[in-house]
């Protein structure tokens, strides 16, 4: 088991390295750097000014060298200005070149400086992740129990009225992407044209003061899209369990139907949905980006849109590291959890 986890962590690190290099390569293509220079300086910069701006920031070195600097395995670039002052990635405002370390990358715990938010990347990611974490917590709290209940009710008796109705509902929710359901919810529940006005159309206030009124719609929008899929998987696994031999034996012994469902079927039926729920995290990440844009909730997804729109290289890299980390860790947890829940499978 220990070896298995060690191997998985190794693959995880390799994947993260490959992906960050890919992001690094794409964000460091010259047209992207030009865009960065123009958003940082001004939009009417001439080609020479762009060149000298990029030269000063050390952007014109080769990509592997810059990547090494970002990782912290190469000494970072320093530029001596005409007045003798030295500027560079490691030299924070208010420090001199002598005081600053030579190496500053993620190995040293320095994630860089965000050019959009004018803050250190680690603080940006920290605050935004906390906001998104709150959103995700409520999404999970709403989505997982309701999806499991839906799936179990539908899977108890295959082909029954409950099954047909709930399955149709589940299919409809999986066919409704967040930007459609979100728009429909906003139209029905918040606009003055319909006049219900039960909820708020934006979740900006929910960042400081989340209430049911301003936080429920974003949570519902994300939860609904993921719910249908989990419910269908739960239903499939439940119908499979309900046709198993031991369930028939229990029925023939005279165990009551509620008892069969609760005591005999449920535990085995919940193994497969567990992995599905874990693998839903990457999908939720997409939903988070759409919903945070739609409801103007300034969390992780919103930061991603800002960073990508302005080619904020350091922030984009940090965001991709975090999201890749989330994806791979949930995969690892789902694998380990599957082995733990299902004693028939052992990793040799």
């Amino acid at each position: 088991m220990g070896l298995f986890i060690l191997r998985r962590v190794g693959i995880m690190l390799l994947t993260a390295l490959c992906l960050t290099f890919l992001v690094f390569y794409l964000t460091n293509l010259y047209p992207n750097l030009e865009k960065l220079a123009k958003t940082q300086g001004n939009f009417r910069m001439s080609d020479e000014q762009v060149e000298s701006f990029l030269e000063k920031g050390g952007y014109l070195q080769s990509t592997p060298v810059k990547y090494g600097e970002w990782l912290g395995i190469l000494p970072s670039y320093r530029h001596t200005n005409e007045d003798g002052t030295v500027q560079g990635r490691c030299i924070l405002p208010g420090k001199t070149a002598e005081e600053s370390p030579n190496f500053c990358g993620i190995l040293q715990g320095y994630w860089g400086y965000s050019t959009v938010f004018k803050e250190e990347v680690s603080t940006v990611v920290g605050t935004r992740l906390a906001l998104t974490g709150r959103l995700m917590f409520w999404v999970m709290l709403l989505m997982v129990p309701s999806a499991l209940i839906l799936g179990i009710l539908a899977g108890m008796k295959e082909g029954s009225a409950t099954d047909r109705t709930l399955s149709t509902f589940a299919i409809t929710t999986t066919a409704t992407p967040e930007y459609v359901s979100g728009v429909i919810f906003i139209a029905i529940f918040t606009s003055s044209a319909v006049g219900l006005k039960w909820f708020k159309g934006t979740a900006t206030q929910a960042m400081e003061n989340p209430t049911f009124e301003n936080f429920f719609l974003p949570v519902l929008t994300i939860a609904l899209y993921g719910m249908g899929y989990i419910a269908r998987m739960t239903r499939a696994s439940m119908t499979e369990v309900m046709t198993a031999q031991y369930i028939r034996t229990a029925r023939l012994k005279g165990v009551s139907f509620p008892n069969i469902v609760m005591k005999h079927a449920l535990r085995n039926a919940l193994i497969a949905p567990f992995t599905v729920i874990m693998l839903q995290f990457p999908w939720l990440l997409n939903g988070v980006v759409i919903v945070e844009t739609l409801f103007n909730y300034k969390g992780f997804g919103w930061a991603l849109v800002q960073a990508a729109g302005n080619n904020d290289i350091q922030l984009l890299l940090a965001i991709s590291v975090v999201s890749v980390f989330v994806v791979l860790v949930t995969q690892l947890i789902s694998d380990i959890g599957y082995v733990y829940l299902n004693p028939r499978i052992r990793i040799s």
């Binding site: 693959i11 994947t15 490959c18 992906l19 992001v23 794409l26 964000t27 293509l29 010259y30 047209p31 992207n32 030009e34 865009k35 008796k157 029954s160 009225a161 409950t162 109705t165 299919i171 409809t172 999986t174 066919a175 409704t176 992407p177 930007y179 459609v180 728009v183 429909i184 906003i186 139209a187 918040t190 606009s191 003055s192 044209a193 319909v194 159309g201 990457p282 990440l285 997409n286 980006v289 759409i290 844009t293 739609l294 997804g301 991603l304 849109v305 990508a308 729109g309 080619n311 984009l316 965001i319 991709s320 999201s323 890749v324 994806v327 791979l328």
Partner: protein, 487 residues
């Protein structure tokens, strides 16, 4: 001109429809409750051997549900028929139904032909045995026909880009201030914030989806199959490497990838052109290997066949990837492609990058599915028999394993077209790739949402259109799965 109401002179149908719908909802809820609360219906055997079940509350509810469902369907058909006959005097609904006339006609023709010959049509014919599959197929074909006829300018009432002054954000059914000859006198679903016709834009948007989504999904399948079959069949190092690459792409959040790939800056560097050149070569490899593995024992037939098929495929491939005589044309350098006089069609750079990234995002998932299926099927007896006969590995993969994996693949193909439609909408929603004035559903939803608290009509039609198309594809996949499991 008078503004149109929603139903005009057929408004007498509205209360009837409302009653039918309320009854149907109530009876469905009662049905669910009854199936939980009431005991199973008792069957009694009569002396003559027939069965009677007690006609309890269950049967009553079931009958109520059936009749209210039939009534709703009948009323909906009445709306359509009356709308076709009466046109604008039946309000906005009637006028729209009349505009959709070619679509209704094609749908009826398609269904009549398919049901008449359903026993001779294989899996497609079996689809017409499942009500769910029929509903799904109907929804999908509605939008396909809408897209095609919309592209032929049959359904649209106005040009999807032209702006009419005084029609900004006007509610559905508003008449135009001054009607010229031969011009449609109303904005059926209102005007958007640039005074364009919402209805026509929705219809035109269907064409964009119908063009891109199935084709992109097909390319993704070609890539996934060409790489997934050997990975699953051979296993070992090749499998490890390809799986690692697939997981690499899958670990990337889709939206981040789109934001990195689908930007004007990336288009300027020519990266999408390189990706297109690599990704689009897989169908050619697939076709070549498919035909060669089957016919290599008959070189006299194989060689002309391969030359013909691959020649056409290569020509299409080169015209697809080259634009204006270049494969890659950046400021710094260019790579020569097919000369312009041989170039069959040009793909605009914005569309190409959207297409490439959608294929790129979808193919690793297809790869994983195909790989799993190949690993499962290669242990079967008929594969062992083919190996004993001395068939080559590619013959076994493409002519033994692939046809036997078709069931799950067809189902996944339908689901994946739906997912691709959602992805295209996502791209439009974030304003990536497609030009801002493009009528695709994602972009129109994005434009409409900004004024959503005051005007609902620009955002809702494309949202509901996208919802119904994807729902149709999901139902179709469900119906196909059910029918293919039956044998």
């Amino acid at each position: 001109m008078e503004p149109l109401t929603w139903t005009g002179s057929i408004a007498f149908l509205n209360p009837l429809l409302a009653i039918a719908l309320v009854l149907m909802t109530a009876s469905i809820l009662a049905w669910i409750l009854a199936s939980i609360v009431l005991p199973e219906p008792q069957m009694t055997v009569n002396p003559d051997g027939t069965l009677t079940s007690g006609s309890g509350i269950r049967n009553l509810i079931q009958a109520l549900m059936r009749y209210s469902f039939l009534a709703s369907v009948g009323l909906a058909v009445a709306y359509i028929v009356l709308g076709i006959l009466m046109g604008t005097s039946a309000g906005i609904i009637g006028a729209m139904m009349q505009q959709f006339l070619p679509v209704w006609f094609s749908l009826i023709l398609l269904y009549a032909m398919s049901i008449a010959f359903k026993r001779k049509l294989g899996l497609y014919g079996k689809l017409f045995d499942s009500p769910i599959g029929m509903i799904g197929f109907g929804l999908v074909m509605f939008w396909v026909f809408t897209g095609i006829f919309g592209a032929l300018d049959l359904i649209v009432t106005h040009d999807s880009l032209s702006q009419v002054s005084g029609m900004k954000n006007k509610v559905p059914g508003t008449p135009l201030p001054s009607v010229e000859d031969g011009e449609y006198a109303w904005y059926l679903l209102g005007g958007d914030n640039l005074a364009r016709d919402v209805f026509s834009r929705m219809v035109k948007g269907a064409w964009i989806v119908v063009q891109i989504a199935p084709l992109a999904t097909m390319f993704a399948f070609m890539v996934g199959i060409t790489l997934g079959l050997p990975a699953g069949y051979y296993g070992g190092r090749l499998d490890t490497l390809l799986s690692f690459l697939a997981n690499l792409i899958l670990a990337f959040p889709v939206i981040l990838l789109f934001y990195l790939l689908v930007t004007p800056e990336i288009v300027a560097t020519g990266v999408p052109n390189y990706m297109a050149a690599v990704l689009f070569i897989f169908p050619i490899i697939f076709l070549g290997v498919l035909l060669n593995s089957r016919y290599y024992t008959r070189p006299t037939f194989r060689t002309p066949l391969l030359i013909g098929v691959l020649g056409v495929a290569l020509w299409l491939y080169l015209s697809l990837i080259s634009t204006g005589g270049y494969v890659v044309n950046t400021d710094a350098y260019g790579i020569w492609g097919l000369p312009t006089f041989l170039d069959l069609f040009d793909v605009p750079a914005g569309i190409l990058v959207v297409f490439v990234s959608v294929v790129f995002v979808n193919s690793p998932t297809v790869f994983r599915i195909v790989r799993g299926l190949a690993m499962d099927i290669k242990t079967r007896d008929y594969v062992a028999a083919a190996q004993t006969r001395g068939e080559g590995p590619w013959y076994i993969m493409l002519w033994e394993i692939l046809p036997n994996a078709r069931g799950p693949l067809i189902v996944d193909f339908c689901l994946r077209i739906g997912y691709t439609t959602i992805l295209l909408g996502t791209l439009g929603f974030f304003g990536l790739g497609l030009p801002p004035e493009s009528p695709d559903w994602g972009s129109t939803i994005n434009e409409g949402r900004k004024l959503l608290s005051v005007y609902l009509h620009p955002a809702l039609p494309p949202a509901l259109a996208l919802l119904s198309l994807v729902l149709g594809l999901n139902l179709l996949a469900d119906g196909l799965r059910e029918e293919s499991l039956k044998d």
